[in-house]
Symmetry: C2
Subunit: 338 residues, 2 copies
């Protein structure tokens, strides 16, 4: 695959048209104090740039300044509405600071997360806010060594290590425990959980199990490889086929819960009359389904704004260790599905 | 804002450790035929790279090759589920060709769309697939001049011009006409439209108006600046306050239709008994709401895949004019909201 590209307009072209030296053009581009450049010269250079359509080559500039003014938001599933919300929160903070934000979708797959690391090492971004399913803190050392800021959004408290990696976490185990205890209090007898694989699953499973065991109940878990509505649909079908059908389902995220609701409808089961269903995330659709879905809000927009703030702070302070870890709030939102 | 970055490992470091010349390292990196490099030398260079954690600097490489192996997907509203679908379709095609995809959210705002142009001119991407609300074809000339491939997703047929800008379009006017004629056939007497501002609005409005006028009816349009559920909610409230309340609403997208459904619920109006509601896009949530939403599918996943294919073709063939324009399919999806 080869592409012939026309030659870009260079500083030399600008210098020639403005009848100044290339050093002067470079001085103008560097944003040097105007006291160093006669106003008339400045205008002539700017006019030449306009005329030629000159755009400073950010590769070349970035090689010198090591700054891209671009931040990455890395998410496992852009089709899960949780992440667009997070992104927009991040974008609002980045905007104020003059940074562009680009989004990268990894499917939570090890190979794609690794590829992102290499991609970012090639000097594309100044920093990253990410939800990573497979990378561990040590994997980020090449980035932090290269001065790239890293903020991770995590599902459990992370030990603060020597690397300058900052963590925002929502205690998923505590949140899942809260949903489960709430279902127990509501009088449900057989509370099952639908889970995906990887990502924040483990904390949510642990919280569910601990709350059931604490109440002297036996956990009942069905996992599906897809952490989305299809996975939820399939897992719920399995549960509904049991002779001792559960009367409540806690799904590991709202997409799975919505899939479980569709499976209930198809099986002729009323929600919550025959089976109560609760989710996790409070995506926009959780309010839309009928009945509206009980769930855990992670305040994803605020989470994105806070994450960008921590990253920008880090970029300003310089990228020296140690990392930080900060708990973020969650809340049980009770609606009519339970 | 200053950040001190540690020095990157360079080709010179690799050359020193491997006891070869820098030219040899460069030859290895260029992917030169192995016949030019003794196997033993190749291994020594590769071992040195591994040991030093050397990553080829893509800036530097891009300056030489003018290739980034990255495509941009530019969307007006990443929180509208239509776009994540489009993105994933695009990503599946890009993956096969070894390209990374980054996403950029513009809010459909002129300033952000313009900023994207400058950003991409700084050499970040080889090509772009985008839904642009404010840019015109001539605005892309700097990109096509720089050899950057441009595929636009449009809401009406575009004249093919001399610039190598490719267009995929869905005939929004025809699609909106189809929804409106369908509502007329279903016996609704007073069919209103809820619209946002900008973007694909115009074609949808024209199609609605033409179909009503053709049937000897008077159009009734309420616009809101927000092309989302909040805008739809507010616009529907205005319609419900009219003494001659409409008995059917065609919303310019599904997000607005879902907002209108919420407004109907709040006003104590049954859907479709008191007011029928139809949307446009067939986002995932359209199936989830109760009653499920009648809408127009644009097959967004396939659209994304096709768009990436057109772009990759363009990159392979070289970026010479003229542009192309290709109609994409749509379909009315009848559900229970009408």
């Amino acid at each position: 695959m080869t592409v012939e590209r026309p030659r870009r307009v260079t500083q030399r072209d600008v210098a020639r048209l403005a009848s100044v030296s290339q050093t002067t053009v470079s001085l103008v581009l560097s944003g040097a104090p105007t006291s160093q450049i006669p106003a008339e010269t400045l205008e002539r250079v700017q006019a030449a740039m306009r005329e030629l359509g000159y755009v400073p080559n950010r590769w070349a500039r970035a090689l010198k300044t090591n700054k891209t003014m671009t931040l990455a938001c890395v998410v496992p599933d852009i089709a899960n509405p949780f992440y667009p919300s997070l992104l927009r929160g991040m974008q609002s903070a980045a905007d104020h600071a003059g940074y562009d934000v680009i989004t990268i979708n990894t499917d939570g797959a090890a190979e794609r997360e690794q590829r992102f690391l290499n991609w970012s090492l090639e000097g594309r971004v100044d920093g990253v806010v990410g939800v990573f399913f497979t990378l561990r803190v040590a994997d980020f050392q090449p980035l932090t060594d290269a001065g790239i800021g890293v903020v991770r959004i995590e599902s459990s408290k992370k030990k603060v290590g020597p690397l300058p990696v900052d963590n925002l976490y929502i205690d998923n185990e505590a949140a899942a425990g809260e949903v489960t205890r709430y279902l127990i209090r509501r009088g449900y007898r057989r509370i099952a959980m639908i889970a995906g694989l990887g990502g924040p699953q483990e904390g949510r499973l642990n919280g569910y199990e601990a709350a059931l065991l604490e109440a002297g109940r036996k956990p009942l878990i069905v996992a599906d490889e897809a952490f989305n509505e299809e996975g939820g649909f399939r897992a719920a079908q399995q549960l509904f086929a049991l002779s001792a059908r559960p009367d409540a389902i806690f799904a590991a995220n709202d997409m799975m819960a919505i899939g479980a609701m569709a499976a209930a409808r198809e099986a002729g089961l009323a929600v919550p009359g025959d089976v109560a269903i609760a989710g996790f995330d409070d995506i926009f659709a959780a309010r839309l389904v009928t009945p509206a879905l009980t769930t855990i809000s992670q305040f994803q927009h605020d989470l994105g704004t806070t994450a960008a703030g921590v990253l920008l702070d880090r970029l300003q302070r310089g990228n020296a260790g140690p990392g930080t870890s900060q708990a973020m709030p969650f809340r049980l939102i009770e609606r009519s599905s339970t």
